[in-house]
């Protein structure tokens, strides 16, 4: 049961219940117990309902706001320079850690 359709299908899963929500809430919106119970109940049905691999079922629930789909790890002119600086810092830190180990 999850929310990264491409990653799971690329890997291959015998049974996959896909919930098109932001990563982190594959079982339903926080504090919406009715939705969560419904989604989880539908997901476990796949154990018996699926008869071949791979089987993917798409949950119908909607997160509501769709802006998150464009925002997640988006790269554009507003953050390109910042990401380049961040990457350089990560590589420096990694190099420094390796030097300390040696």
């Amino acid at each position: 049961m999850g929310s990264a359709l491409d990653i799971v299908q690329h890997c291959g899963a015998a049974r996959f219940f896909f919930v098109d929500f932001p990563l982190g809430n594959p079982c339903g919106k926080p504090w919406d117990r009715t939705m969560q119970d419904h989604l989880v109940s539908a997901a476990v049905e796949l154990f018996e309902a699926a008869d071949q691999s791979p089987t993917t079922v798409y949950a119908r629930e909607d997160w509501g706001d769709v802006g998150w789909k464009q925002r997640y790890m988006a790269v554009d002119d507003s953050n390109r320079a910042e990401l380049a600086i961040k990457g350089a810092a990560l590589r420096r830190n990694r190099h420094d850690r390796q030097k300390r180990i040696l």
């Binding site: 049961m1 999850g2 990264a4 359709l5 491409d6 990653i7 690329h10 890997c11 291959g12 899963a13 015998a14 896909f18 098109d20 929500f21 932001p22 990563l23 982190g24 809430n25 594959p26 079982c27 339903g28 919106k29 926080p30 504090w31 117990r33 969560q36 119970d37 989604l39 989880v40 109940s41 997901a43 476990v44 049905e45 154990f47 018996e48 699926a50 008869d51 071949q52 691999s53 791979p54 706001d65 769709v66 998150w68 789909k69 464009q70 925002r71 997640y72 790890m73 988006a74 790269v75 953050n79 390109r80 990401l83 380049a84 961040k86 990457g87 350089a88 990560l90 590589r91």
Partner: protein
């Protein structure tokens, strides 16, 4: 990308790390042969094991990750601050939204599932395919078997 289309995470993360100057894209796990096994008993007679990529303690970003097991209890706290879920769109304050213990217990109460295993298994999000295939997955498998699990629900964050 149409607004309604699922996010292409592999393409998105590749571009994100390329923007940081990491030119070698991550090779996601890929299997052409995915075995299928029919359950040997009905779900209503089965013990279900739950597997999560969250952890039982707050891990630091570069901290090595290991398989862990936690007894299922009402106040069980799980952590995933070090994982790449969508921190700008949502939160993990509600455990059931990512580790559905309460919803599974409801399934048991309704007779849909026979039993919920007494432990939740925490499997690391591991970049090394070898570490997952040769150590983490077999270790989780053994712990599920020790709990008498018939079917396992994997819920990655």
């Amino acid at each position: 990308m149409k607004v309604k289309d699922p996010v292409q995470y592999m393409r998105r993360t590749k571009a994100y790390y390329e923007a940081q100057g990491f030119d070698t894209p991550y090779q996601y796990a890929h299997f052409t042969d995915v075995p299928f096994a029919k359950p040997t008993k009905s779900l209503a007679s089965s013990t279900l094991g739950l597997v999560t990529t969250a952890s039982t303690y707050p891990r630091a970003p570069q901290e090595p990750r290991q398989v862990d097991t936690a007894p299922i209890k009402t106040d069980l706290k799980l952590y995933a601050g070090d994982l790449s879920w969508d921190k700008s769109a949502t939160h993990l304050d509600d455990r059931n939204s990512f580790c559905p213990i309460d919803s599974l217990q409801a399934c048991v109460s309704e007779g849909k599932i026979g039993h919920l295993a007494p432990h939740v298994q925490c499997i690391p999000t591991e970049y090394s395919h070898r570490a997952t295939l040769e150590h983490d997955a077999p270790e989780v498998h053994q712990r599920l078997l020790a709990d008498g699990v018939d079917v396992a629900l994997l819920v990655p964050l």
